[in-house]
Symmetry: C2
Subunit: 457 residues, 2 copies
């Protein structure tokens, strides 16, 4: 039986015998009694196991260290002490796996840095146990949202020969023997596995568009890779992305979907990870729960980039970076804008020169139908756009940017073969998790993070 089942149906099990398997998180030994803080990992809550010296195995049990795996038979009883409603009085206990006294995960507060070095053990701590369960439940909430609305889950390819979003930041994938390359003093891609240079995907959007024009509504949810050599709290080189794409959908409808999805996912997590959110609220980010509850009830504001710049320039603030029409905005500006509107803000119609080639060109000739969602306390959480559906405009833009169009024929053809107005957006999964948990460093919301120089486990 799982501890989760016990908590959910405690009345059913009260005063009954149960058998549980799990781990000793903390063992407090007294002369005539013992208390075991026990977890089986199926829910955030632990169970207190109690025994006394009337138990024939008393001396044996007292030898069990923190970290041991055990199977316990006992009776569920009302708790004598404070801190829990019930506890289990041990009849019999079996040691499944021992644990040495120098086990690194002792019941005390460890630093995040220390725990990153022990990444394979950190899900055994309260904090990371909570983080990675929230990760799992959030992933499921995203699938549930899109599936129930009839979206098709599309697996975009991971290895790709396309490099249209910037090859400089891509990881190369190869089966060439590099020692051989060094020895032969030449690189022959015709001998590589795919007969040409190939890379890890940086985005599944372009391929996603091909499926949106067949299924109307699709989403991706898979790993993406950027070989950026930056060591910040918000960058990892391997991360998961969600990229929905919707045919017959303009920028306004795109924003409706972004807002609806985010509220759904946050509500789902509040409801299904209540204990974890309470924990984060208490120990990781004070006010987290209010922040999330407020988001769900917020009206998201929609303003243009130009309006934002005007607001910023009119503000009585000394900026580190001066806000300028036609240019990107800085973190300090994002923060001001969400405070100004007291809630999430969609900033739309961005200057075309700072946005991607595939975004729909607005009639003003200066902006594109792109949108970023700025969320209080998180900054940019999602970015989307209506896609340029006009073949000629798209080709012209690619030519302007010096992009090669031959290898993109399939993408361009989508505009010829029953193309239609369509939109989509991207959400970094880890960025959402940082927002949901209050955890600050992306390394702490990915089981085994990949960052420059770090590829352990």
């Amino acid at each position: 039986m799982d501890v989760k089942e016990l908590y959910e149906n405690i009345n059913k099990y009260m005063n009954k015998k149960v058998t549980l398997s799990g781990w000793i998180r903390n063992h407090r030994k007294q002369k005539e009694f013992g208390f075991i803080d026990f977890s089986d990992g199926t829910c955030f809550n632990h169970v207190q196991l109690v025994y006394d010296n009337k138990n024939k195995d008393f001396d044996e049990i007292q030898k069990y260290h923190n970290g041991c795996a055990i199977t316990v038979d006992g009776k569920v009883i009302e708790s004598q002490g404070s801190g829990q409603d019930f506890e289990i009085s041990i009849d019999k206990i079996k040691l499944e796996g021992d644990c040495p006294e120098d086990y690194p995960m002792q019941p005390k507060r460890h630093s995040d840095e220390f725990l990153r070095e022990q990444a394979y053990l950190r899900p055994r701590t309260n904090k990371f146990q909570a983080v990675f369960r929230v990760r799992s439940v959030t992933a499921y909430a995203i699938h549930k949202y899109f599936q129930e609305k009839g979206y098709v889950y599309f697996h975009s390819p991971i290895i790709t020969a396309s490099d249209c979003e910037g090859a400089g930041q891509m990881f190369q994938v190869t089966t060439l023997d590099l020692d051989r390359v060094a020895k032969d003093k030449k690189v022959d891609y015709t001998k590589d596995f795919f007969g040409k240079r190939s890379n890890l995907t940086v985005s599944g959007q372009l391929e996603g568009e091909t499926f949106a024009l067949a299924y109307k509504k699709i989403y991706t949810f898979g790993p993406t890779f950027r070989a950026e050599n930056s060591n910040t709290k918000t960058h990892a080189n391997e991360f998961w992305m969600i990229e929905p794409e919707i045919a017959f959908c303009d920028l306004n409808q795109d924003m409706d979907i972004m807002e609806d999805m985010l509220k759904y996912v946050v509500s789902y997590v509040l409801e299904n990870c209540a204990t974890e959110i309470d924990f984060f609220d208490k120990w990781v980010e004070k006010g987290l729960k209010d922040k999330l509850n407020k988001l769900v009830k917020s009206k998201f504001t929609r303003v243009t980039h130009e309006e934002v710049i005007t607001i910023l320039r009119d503000a009585d603030v000394k900026w580190e970076f001066e806000p300028k029409y036609g240019e990107d905005i800085a973190k300090e500006h994002e923060k001001y804008i969400t405070e100004y509107f007291n809630g999430p803000v969609f900033i739309k119609d961005w200057p075309k020169d700072i946005k991607a080639f595939y975004m729909k060109q607005n009639d003003d000739g200066k902006t594109v139908a792109a949108v970023d969602l700025e969320v209080p306390g998180a900054g940019e959480l999602m970015g989307g756009s209506q896609r340029e559906e006009n073949y000629d405009k798209l080709v012209n833009r690619m030519n302007e940017l010096g992009m090669e169009t031959d290898s993109m024929e399939w993408y361009l053809n989508l505009r010829k073969f029953g193309g239609c107005y369509h939109s989509g957006f991207g959400m970094g999964f880890e960025r959402l998790l940082i927002y949901l948990t209050g955890v600050e460093n992306i390394r702490d919301v990915i089981p085994y993070p990949r960052t420059p120089g770090n590829c352990e486990f």
Copy 2:
């Protein structure tokens, strides 16, 4: 509105005005009438749109080619013709995106080979529309099964420095400039992105075990990679795997879960993709639906590898490959065994020398607690094992196999730090899809397949 919504609530919409956006799959023009076979991709069913020369746009509509994107306003009426219960009488139609007459996806039967060359357009055909919707629904069924049973979804890392399952078959990931390597005549991995050689994962199991020993029940569902240079119907170099891992679970319980999960997923697909399964049953694999319904009701047999060899050797069959104790079995043997037991068969307790190092060594000293599930008409669909939880036995086995243990310290430590008996299994997602759809070639169940020499789109 979606066509799916229309089909699911046809009574509500009968004799009402509706607006739909989607694509012309076939346009049959007559002198005074026209019939448009219309699909919006939200369900397998199409809708018939009808118009006559009383419509003021009659001449304009008649110009619309197959493949065009349209938005149509019309009235839902009972169908005059056979083949459908209702149709839509067109009031107004708007051309969203034109399509040339030489559009490759004309309404006729195309070969799978031709469609692979047009992979970005093939989801617009009935067959592939059905395949990739089943892919999406099946993925969701798998998540739903595990999440509802309290499993934690674990994202195993894609880029890994571990090579313990055979580096020869791995793709290398690098940011080294290969031209530079050729020029410098040496490979310096300290200059590579992670400071050492790194690869694409071939399995998330070992990392999955670390999380199973924290959460009790976990599953992975992500892409995996094998650089095998083989061009068969069942091999792709990039594919998706599901790898559940369960603590306090022996081989028998592992088989219980494999059986339960498979039955759940097949039932879910039968229920939620009934139209698609009917289509496959009629056009792709006759008897598919019976096969799937039978599986759900089957009792799965459990036999040992040794028993299987005895049955094969006693059989009155002239084998191409002679069945031998202590050796692997061939496709012809798998087929015979599922026919012999008239249903799915778990073959367990395999000779240790043909199985992986991490599998639990049985007391006989010759076999390991491994299991393969053989399914009629599919062969091996899943493989699992109880894992060796004894530290010394595991290290000895790795030494026997000449494996390096230093970099695997974290994996070995799982046996020291509260280790316990635990088991898991792996299922190739595409192999399951081949079984569910009757489609024979793995290239036809992956949106953009990667095979030797092929990395298009």
